[in-house]
């Protein structure tokens, strides 16, 4: 092997000629994120997360084999953003409800979400109804989470050399399908291997999945972050009065509000510098004064949510979506893949507890109308900031609030950044 030199972001690197760029970069201490790339597999080039520039042209990093004098860009602002965008595309294409996902905390895709700092997805979620396939012998495949990286297609073969997974269809209908006959031949170890190599929670092993959590939540370790003193603030910015906060819970579970209170005695510090206006915490129902910041939990699932949210936008200088439901619909948005009619019929007319013809779908001029789907808040009004998490950690929320109100610098601790 011939030793060659090349450049990554202007830095001189060396490696064996013909080494895969992802590996070569790693050996020079540079991390290029990937999802489909996998050790000994030939490059798949499907996920596009490792997009880099080679001599000025965009290319998937995993398909580059280093040569003398190559000039590679990895971490330009544009590439960093493109990479983030591709991950966001994966989040909007599938249906990723991390709080209910077995792989959460162990998931490479989720981890890259943290890594790239996705606070919200710039793209609209597609909410396509996808199959959770329990027909195979040993595994369950949850198509909601499959990112079509092809790892399983290339890597999982039976002892006699037959493929278990393959792409079917094309275009937006492209699916990773299972050969049931071949899958039945997998050994327990092979099935578990399939689950391991899947970078998401798409492939799960039956039985194993739900009886005990698997893995050590490898991406989820470290300190939770220190409590920051909340009353030490830059008083120059305080407008000569306490800052005014409003909060509300739309289509949420009040979990984010619980989290708001979860700073224990810290709340005493907080009320030294802020006061709560309209909020479930004060039970003030109407805005009588303009507020400096509004914290919104939950997305919009009915007409009342829309009205309240619009009120908040009108009366708050800064509006923040707190938690996954506010950011993209979250748990209530599980219904978004199912037509409204089906949902309401199932809930009110055809459910086990509803007696034939005795029940109706609630409707009255005094009760809000249910929207055709759950909307994220930024689809309804302009939202200034997003705090991810389900719920976000209390320190995290208040640090952000403090940072916005008192114009302070704050960097989020890795373990505080959560989608679940």
């Amino acid at each position: 092997m011939q030793n060659i030199s090349f450049y990554i972001d202007g830095r001189l690197c060396t490696a064996d000629k013909g080494l895969n760029l992802i590996e070569a970069a790693k050996r020079n201490g540079i991390f290029i994120p990937t999802l489909c790339h996998f050790k000994h597999l030939n490059p798949l080039g499907s996920c596009r997360v490792c997009s880099v520039n080679l001599n000025g042209n965009g290319i998937a990093g995993c398909t580059v084999f280093v040569e003398e004098g190559m000039n590679i860009e990895v971490n330009t602002p544009e590439l960093l953003d493109n990479r983030k965008a591709i991950l966001e595309m994966m989040f909007v294409e599938g249906n990723h409800f991390c709080p209910s996902c077995e792989k959460s905390g162990d998931c490479q895709m989720q981890n890259l979400g943290y890594e790239t700092g996705i606070r919200y997805t710039r793209f609209p979620h597609l909410f396509v109804d996808r199959l959770v396939d329990a027909r195979p012998e040993r595994i369950v495949v949850n198509q909601n989470r499959c990112i079509k990286c092809k790892r399983c297609i290339e890597e999982i073969v039976t002892n006699d050399g037959y493929k278990v997974f393959n792409f079917t269809n094309k275009g937006k209908k492209t699916t990773v399908s299972i050969d049931y006959e071949q899958e039945a031949k997998l050994t327990a170890a092979q099935a578990e291997y399939a689950m391991q190599i899947c970078p998401t929670g798409s492939i799960l092993v039956k039985g194993k999945t739900f009886s005990k959590p698997f893995g050590n939540r490898i991406f989820d370790q470290g300190a939770e972050g220190k409590t920051v003193p909340f009353n030490k603030v830059n008083m120059n910015i305080t407008k000569g009065r306490k800052m005014r906060i409003a909060t509300t819970s739309l289509a949420g579970c009040f979990g984010c509000h619980m989290s708001l209170l979860d700073i224990d005695l810290g709340i005493l510090d907080i009320i030294e510098v802020v006061e709560f206006h309209k909020s479930p915490l004060t039970d003030i129902k109407k805005f009588t004064e303009r507020c400096d910041i509004g914290l919104v939990e939950g997305g919009c699932c009915n007409t009342d949510n829309i009205e309240v949210l619009r009120e908040f936008r009108k009366n708050c200088d800064v509006l923040v979506s707190v938690g996954e439901c506010a950011i993209w619909g979250g748990v209530p948005a599980i219904r978004n893949t199912i037509p409204l009619e089906e949902c309401l019929r199932e809930a009110y007319l055809d459910s086990l507890t509803s007696e034939g013809n005795a029940t109706v779908i609630p409707n009255h001029e005094d009760i809000p109308k249910i929207l055709n789907k759950v909307y994220s808040n930024h689809e309804v009004v302009k939202i200034d900031y997003h705090i991810p998490g389900c719920p976000p950690n209390a320190n995290h929320i208040w640090s952000v609030v403090k940072n916005i109100l008192f114009e302070e610098e704050y960097s989020i601790n890795y373990p505080e950044f959560k989608y679940d």
Binding site: R48, M89, Y375
Partner: protein, 572 residues
């Protein structure tokens, strides 16, 4: 059975039984010693293969944008009414199955459809009724079929034309044994022949790389998969001058030393299959193909025809090779070029139909003749197919350097407004481009112009394009597979009238990300027209979006959001 026979084998089942059954899948999988899901993967990639029984007559109605503007919806409704079937559904009738399909290369004769792959054109509701009635009483589709040869509307004067001149078999191959491969390459280089499949890659350079390649096998492939909506220039060459294509391929084989050649013909052009096959037979009979062909010792070149099965992306050369090898037509990674590692590991050159045809004309007439025509950088002529809002749609052979205005005049365009050059993956043009010259120095055109007048909705055009791309993406890259879907979501938002200039900026940003991060040309160019149209047709967009600067208000369509609920309450 070899894997490379897979497509033909699947066609056998499809043609014989109208669908490919579970038993067939199992049988093929067993023969190839692969899992069934691999075969399923291939079948479901191509939209002319069916896994459920179809009627005796399968009707594929073209849903391209030109068709939409020429009455697609009415024609579609008429087919459903007359046959009692629904588009896209199986098992509704023994007699009929109806499907939509993307452009079938008859844009000059819309609306059009294929009935068991026989073309019918200029469809109207009346014509549909007649056709369906004929089919019902047992008149066979080949009798109903229309003559679909495109009208050649314009040819340059005799001393300036290249393609549409007299043809007699073997003219470009005369005396080949006294011409060195290098001579052929030099001739092509002199006129700077560039590929006519869209990428304009220098043809001589491609052939030379393959000539110098050390691969044991070399292969020449003619890309006759012409799938770019609105394009039918290759079809016209196959119809009128199939021999030119074959001669071009023989020249290529002579240069590179290839022994095998394929013409990959899209299934939509199946009715041209016999034309090509007869031409091939003719060449064998003239000893211009086969062993020691063209009177050259040890020059052995065999040519066969492969019919595609309905997948636009198979026009991308590496996808085409995958398809020929019997796999899903997913473009390969850009790790090696086909000239290094192509069909079954051979050094393969893939060229477009027009490229081969032009190569043979260059050798036949000599580079001096070609050099006397065209502009400084584009030599000779170009075949342009024109469709849309023009009185004279069809084929135009033009000298490079002709202005767009001249072409609009020749084709008698009526109030031209939005012009699509080189298909949806190409460029959109407006009035300010009319005086541009079609040539490398100015306006490069892949060969198709779709002309839309002022009454046409740009959003409808863009929606049609994006829907085409999101169906035809091979599905491998995230950015292309998802990107086209989110662009469609933007179109839907634009249609609701709740977009701001912020949305337009996002379309440009998102489209640019797709361009930068997709593997092949499909994903790289599918957002092109959308992005371009925003600046080219600023006035149009200004009317349909609210302009705003930094702090845009978000509009929410409450009426639409409660529509479902209101309907349901009314119903229950």
């Amino acid at each position: 059975m070899q894997r490379t026979d897979l497509l033909n084998r699947l066609w056998e089942f499809q043609n014989k039984f109208g669908f490919i059954s579970d038993i067939a899948v199992a049988e093929i999988a067993q023969e190839l010693k692969v899992s069934k899901i691999e075969i399923e993967g291939v079948i479901s990639f191509y939209h002319f293969f069916h896994r459920q029984p179809t009627g005796k007559y399968i009707i594929y109605l073209n849903n391209s944008i030109v068709s939409e503007f020429k009455g697609f919806q009415e024609v579609k409704a008429a087919f459903e009414f007359e046959t009692g079937c629904t588009f896209g559904k199986y098992g509704q009738s023994q007699l009929f199955s109806l499907f939509e399909t993307s452009c079938i290369g008859l844009s000059d004769q819309e609306c059009t459809a294929l009935i068991n792959f026989y073309p019918v054109t200029h469809l109207s509701t009346d014509k549909v009724r007649t056709i369906v009635n004929q089919l019902k009483i047992g008149i066979s589709p080949n009798i109903i079929a229309n003559n679909v040869a495109s009208l050649v509307q314009h040819i340059p004067p005799q001393n300036k034309s290249v393609f549409f001149k007299n043809y007699s078999i073997g003219n470009s191959l005369k005396n080949l044994k006294n011409k060195s491969p290098q001579f052929i390459l030099d001739e092509l280089k002199k006129v700077e022949l560039a590929g006519k499949g869209g990428a304009f890659f220098p043809t001589a350079q491609k052939w030379e790389i393959s000539k110098n390649a050390t691969n044991a096998e070399k292969v020449v492939i003619c890309n006759a998969d012409e799938g770019e909506p609105g394009t039918f220039k290759d079809k016209t060459i196959i119809e009128n001058l199939p021999g030119l294509i074959i001669e071009g391929m023989i020249l290529a084989a002579y240069v590179t030393g290839a022994t095998t050649g394929f013409i990959y013909l899209r299934a939509e052009y199946k009715y041209l299959q016999s034309k090509l096959e007869n031409a091939i037979i003719d060449f064998y009979q003239h000893n211009l193909l086969g062993v020691n062909c063209c009177e050259i010792k040890h020059f052995n070149f065999d040519l066969q025809l492969q019919i595609g099965a309905g997948a636009y992306v198979c026009g991308a050369e590496t996808a085409l090779i995958e398809s020929l090898e019997g796999y899903r037509g997913e473009p390969r990674l850009r790790v090696q070029y086909p000239t290094e590692n192509g069909y079954l590991g051979s050094s393969t050159i893939v060229n477009n139909v027009e490229t081969f045809a032009k190569a043979s004309r260059i050798i036949e007439f000599g580079s001096d003749y070609i050099l006397s025509i065209g502009t400084e950088k584009s030599k000779g002529t170009k075949i342009i197919c024109i469709s849309g809002d023009v009185a004279k749609p069809g084929i135009y052979e033009i000298e490079w350097g002709t202005t767009l205005r001249e072409l609009l005049r020749l084709s008698q365009a009526t109030a031209p407004y939005f012009i699509q050059s080189s298909g949806p993956s190409g460029d959109c043009l407006n009035e300010s481009d009319f005086d541009r010259k079609i040539c490398k120095e100015d306006l490069l055109c892949g060969g198709s112009l779709m002309i839309f007048n002022r009454t046409r909705s740009i959003l409808q055009i863009l929606e049609n394009y994006i829907k085409f791309f999101l169906d035809e993406s091979c599905g491998s890259c995230t950015s292309c597979r998802v990107g086209n879907q989110i662009l469609l979501a933007k179109i839907e938002k634009l249609k609701k009238g709740i977009c701001t200039t912020q949305d337009l900026n996002e379309i440009i940003e998102w489209g640019t990300i797709m361009k930068k991060t997709s593997r092949c040309g499909l994903g790289q160019f599918s957002s092109n027209t959308f992005i371009q149209s925003i600046s080219k047709f600023e006035n149009y967009f200004n009317v349909i979006v609210t302009s705003c600067t930094d702090n845009c208000n978000v509009e929410f369509d409450m009426e639409n959001a409660v529509f479902d609920y209101d309907q349901l309450i009314k119903k229950t």
